[in-house]
């Protein structure tokens, strides 16, 4: 029996060593990987070195910013992440701590607790849901760390827990989509609309639906004949659209809560032998590059921009707060509606 135990212990020692090696190896690889898309890769070694020095914020005067991102579920989100990374990693006065929550609120809460433990100078949070932030944001407040919300808000009544919300107005986006459609087709037209909803429960889906439906309420001719979730993905958008076209082809407009679903719907419409963009108007939200390409090809009509490039605005807000300036509670991002020639003109400049 004793003979047996020794090699086992050796094995465990080996295991632990490997683990340590992989943990560290993983870190190094990831450090390079994570920053490689950003042009500021030269800054990376210095910033990772900084984290090893005692209390970075005190010693070299850098402002440490913790950013709790939702995940990488779409091209839009990647553009936002890249914008924030570029902004802060390109500036020697800042150090960015980035955490990716894989679409899970509990991971974001953990990230914020970690930021508090690291005594960062500011926390940026893109909340995955609206509710459930009171406890942890209160802890941040107690620790005296200003919190900024990016692109999505939190439940009303907690305005004292954060400094500013930087982002778009989803309800307004829904209204803009409806407004464009009504302007285009005429206020009295008879229009059957298919709505492709985002992920059930997501605030972008709820608000874009609400804004749109409110805006067409007063126009009796505009009817949403079908509304179903497409999970914000191309595949689901296509499948849902296909199923509906089998039943009824008498529709004049498709309103998708994001461009990816709109692109899926376009494929389904083409495969059913109709012309997207002419027979059926296609309205998307987000303003991703492929949507602009589709507009240029005449397959899509309009995309309501939802700007992900929030990095510069966030940086400005943090600097203002540190300087003691009072900020607006809601800093709206610069956004536009793109259709037709305007979209074609804008295409070469689209970053995401």
């Amino acid at each position: 029996m004793k003979r047996q135990r020794k090699p086992l212990l050796a094995l465990i020692a080996l295991l632990v060593m490997t683990m340590l090696a992989t943990a560290c190896g993983g870190n190094n690889n990831g450090g390079n990987k994570g920053s490689s898309p950003a042009p500021a890769s030269a800054e990376t070694p210095s910033s990772s070195k900084a984290s090893e020095e005692p209390s970075p914020s005190a010693s070299n005067g850098k402002l440490v910013v913790g950013f709790a991102q939702i995940g990488q579920e779409s091209g839009w989100r990647d553009a936002e992440t890249a914008s924030v990374k570029e902004t802060f990693e390109g500036d020697p006065g800042f150090e960015l701590k980035f955490s990716d929550a894989q679409q899970k609120q509990e991971n974001q809460i953990k990230a914020i607790r970690t930021f508090i433990a690291q005594k960062v100078d500011a926390i940026a949070l893109a909340p995955v849901v609206e509710s459930g932030w009171e406890t942890v944001l209160k802890e941040a407040k107690d620790a005296g760390i200003p919190v900024f919300l990016l692109d999505r808000g939190i439940t009303k009544g907690n305005e004292d827990l954060y400094v500013s919300f930087i982002g778009s107005d989803f309800i307004l986006e829904g209204q803009n989509a409806a407004k464009w459609m009504i302007d285009e087709l005429g206020a009295d037209a008879q229009v059957n609309i298919v709505q492709l909803e985002g992920t059930v429960g997501a605030s972008a889906a709820n608000d874009r639906k609400k804004g749109f439906e409110d805006a067409i309420k007063d126009h009796a001719g505009y009817k949403i004949v079908y509304s179903q979730t497409g999970d914000f993905t191309r595949a689901k958008g296509k499948e849902v659209m296909e199923a509906y076209l089998k039943k009824d082809k008498n529709i004049q407009a498709v309103y998708a809560h994001n461009d990816d679903m709109a692109l899926g719907a376009i494929q389904a419409i083409e495969e059913a032998g109709l012309k997207p963009g002419t027979d059926i108007k296609i309205i998307g939200v987000d303003g991703i590059k492929p949507a602009f390409e589709a507009i240029a090809a005449g397959k899509m009509n309009v995309t309501v921009e939802c700007n992900p490039l929030l990095g510069p605005q966030l940086k400005q807000a943090i600097l203002d707060t540190k300087a003691g300036t009072k900020l607006e509670k809601w800093i709206k991002s610069d956004e536009d509606v793109y259709s037709g020639q305007k979209a074609i003109d804008a295409l070469p400049n689209r970053k995401y």
Binding site: S74, Y226, D231, R234, A235, E239, P290
Partner: protein, 336 residues
């Protein structure tokens, strides 16, 4: 009378009859509830209609489920298929950038088989529980797919590649033929070679088969490699259909549907006999259910609920113990 009941009971014992019955019931329901469900149009040399769509959209699920049937027959499971699908799709689209289509397809298939072999190695050589062994790839897989795509959705315009997901042949979508090809290959493997017998035997009892001279390890390796290949075929179909690869969302939760399809198809999760035809019917049933729900316009919120109830019902009907509840005790005594 007793004869009749006995023959009914014999039919009832044939595992394929239950999924077939469920599918038939669903179709009858559709015939009544959804006007135009069975109407098929023919234009541009293609067939259009809900039924054609079901064939088309069921293909990734059916192909994965066919592979899954083998490992479930081995008393195993592979929950990494969704991740492998994402990896293969990402690989295919990635390779199209600079290489001809056939190389991209081979690369996608190759990486799928590799994933399958990795699973097979963990399970057969290290002897790790199938569910946990494949849990590793389920966790890591999407990370690998994201490494390939660089974390964004990549697309392609290659017509020859997207043909595999959008094309039509003889008026039917190409996917229908792909299901047929995979089914035929596995069916030949099952009935014309000893492999099928070996799988059933190893699934029934490893120890007994080993004494009978079968090598469970290689049978398991081959089976998991086949699942990997099936998953990568599905990955190619999905990425070709959309002309893009999405590392995060492609094939999400498909492992659960695939396992359901196999079980509905009459193959027991406890291993042993397996039914490829039943699996295809199971997959078609699941896809028809989804299409039915979409066509009916059931609110998005209750889709999962409907699915849960149908799954429980189908599984209950398949359970011998449940059916016995409805056979009066007296008659049962006579029959037996």
């Amino acid at each position: 009378m007793a004869n009749l009941t006995a023959s009914v009971r014999n039919i009832g014992r044939n595992p394929i009859i239950w999924p077939l019955l469920a599918l038939a019931l669903l179709m009858i329901f559709n015939l009544i509830a959804i006007p135009g469900f069975f109407s098929i149009e023919f234009h541009d040399g293609r067939l259009f209609g809900s039924v054609v769509d079901i064939l088309k959209n069921a293909s990734p699920l059916a192909i994965i489920a066919l592979g899954m049937t083998l490992v479930i027959a081995l008393e195993g499971i592979d929950i990494s298929v969704g991740s492998v699908l994402a990896i293969a799709g990402a690989m295919g689209i990635f390779m199209l950038d600079g290489y001809p289509t056939w190389i991209a397809i081979l690369a996608a298939l190759g990486i799928g088989v590799l994933c399958g072999l990795w699973n097979g190695m963990l399970i057969s050589i290290l002897g790790i529980q199938p569910m946990v062994a494949t849990l590793i790839l389920l966790t890591i897989g999407r990370g690998i797919a994201q490494l390939i795509t660089g974390g964004r959705i990549i697309d392609t315009t290659s017509a020859s590649y997207t043909f595999l997901g959008k094309g039509y042949f003889l008026g039917l979508p190409i996917q229908a033929f792909l299901i047929l090809i995979v089914f035929a290959l596995l069916y030949v493997l099952k009935t014309r070679t000893a492999f099928g017998l070996f799988v059933e035997s190893v699934g029934g009892s490893k120890t007994a088969s080993r004494y009978a001279g079968i090598r469970p390890r290689s049978i398991m390796m081959i089976s998991y490699a086949i699942v990997g290949a099936c998953a990568s075929v599905a990955g190619i179909i999905v990425s070709a259909n959309l002309g893009s690869a999405d590392a995060n969302n492609a094939g999400l939760w498909i492992e659960l549907d695939a396992i359901l399809a196999v079980v509905i198809g009459g193959t027991s999760m406890r291993g042993g006999r397996f039914y490829l035809g039943g699996t295809v019917i199971g997959a078609l049933f699941i896809q028809s259910l989804t299409t039915t729900i979409y066509s009916l316009g059931v609110p998005a919120e209750s889709i999962l609920l409907v699915k849960a109830i149908v799954v429980i019902l189908v599984c209950l009907i398949q359970s011998e113990a449940f059916r016995k509840l409805f056979v009066p005790v007296g008659k049962k005594a006579i029959i037996e």
